[in-house]
């Protein structure tokens, strides 16, 4: 036999044998599994990045976000409006250098259509500590149907480089559990910082 730096002489198109044949077969079968899982999860799984996708002018998206804020605003925090949209509604989150607008107050177990876009450059939506990540691209509206499954006080970190203030870009999402009425009242007051209302 020869090495990989020698020119093979004559016909090298020879049948595959033994362990090698077995491995190619196993590896190919595994590759098919890798493929099959993706369509399968679309059918059965709860987390897919499909969304409702459309193009949008950044100015128009800004206008929609502001309209959304005007309609549902319940307070302000650190200069950022806090909104509490009704369950089932379309909600807007805009990334801009270097903040997320607005702060969202959502209900556990309710479904919303979250519209993500950017006013300027690419941003990265990263919902922590869950670790849910989406790319936020100017000119594109990513409409994701989300259902918060846990109550709490969450953060949206920007994880796409967007200029010198990138690491200062952090937003907030509060999820309240309406099935616990007493606790909900208390936590909602605390969560948006009371006095700002």
């Amino acid at each position: 036999m020869h090495t990989g730096i020698q020119s093979p002489q004559g016909v090298w198109w020879k049948p595959v044998r033994g362990g090698e044949k077995l491995w190619v077969g196993i590896a190919f079968a595994w590759c098919l599994v890798l493929f099959a899982m993706m369509p399968l999860w679309h059918l059965r799984g709860g987390q897919n990045p499909s969304g409702i996708r459309s193009k949008v002018d950044p100015q128009a998206f800004m206008a929609r976000t502001q309209e959304f804020i005007r309609t549902y605003q319940v307070g302000t925090e650190n200069g950022i409006p806090v909104v509490e949209p009704p369950p089932g509604s379309d909600i807007y989150l805009m990334g801009m250098m270097w903040s997320w607008q607005p702060v969202l107050r959502l209900r556990k177990g309710a479904q919303y259509t979250l519209h993500l876009s950017s006013f300027d450059v690419n941003h990265g939506f990263s919902l922590l500590p869950f670790n849910i990540n989406f790319q936020v691209v100017p000119g594109y509206d990513y409409g994701l149907r989300i259902t918060p499954t846990e109550a709490g006080d969450f953060r949206i970190v920007c994880n796409e480089f967007c200029g010198i203030g990138h690491h200062l870009m952090i937003g907030r999402v509060i999820v309240v559990d309406e099935s616990e009425p007493a606790a909900a009242g208390a936590s909602s007051g605390a969560a948006i910082g009371g006095g700002n209302l």
Binding site: L22, W30, Q47, I132, R145, T147
Partner: protein
């Protein structure tokens, strides 16, 4: 064996093999590698499905 400053593969190059060597089925065996790649596949399968599991814990999104 290894002369200072020169890789063993140069000082003492691997002995060339006759073109016929390793062609017969008794000689053409690589059982050690088969074990290694199966360990690899097992690690792959475990990591892959653990990640599907991790994914299933996060919010529903679609």
């Amino acid at each position: 064996m290894a002369k200072e400053g020169l890789p063993p593969g140069i000082v003492n190059p691997p002995r060339p093999l006759p073109e016929k060597a390793g062609e017969s089925p008794e000689e053409h065996r690589t059982p050690g590698t088969l074990v290694l790649v199966l360990v690899f596949l097992a690690a792959f399968v475990v990591y892959y499905f653990v990640n599907w599991k991790l994914l299933s814990f996060v919010w529903r999104v679609g």
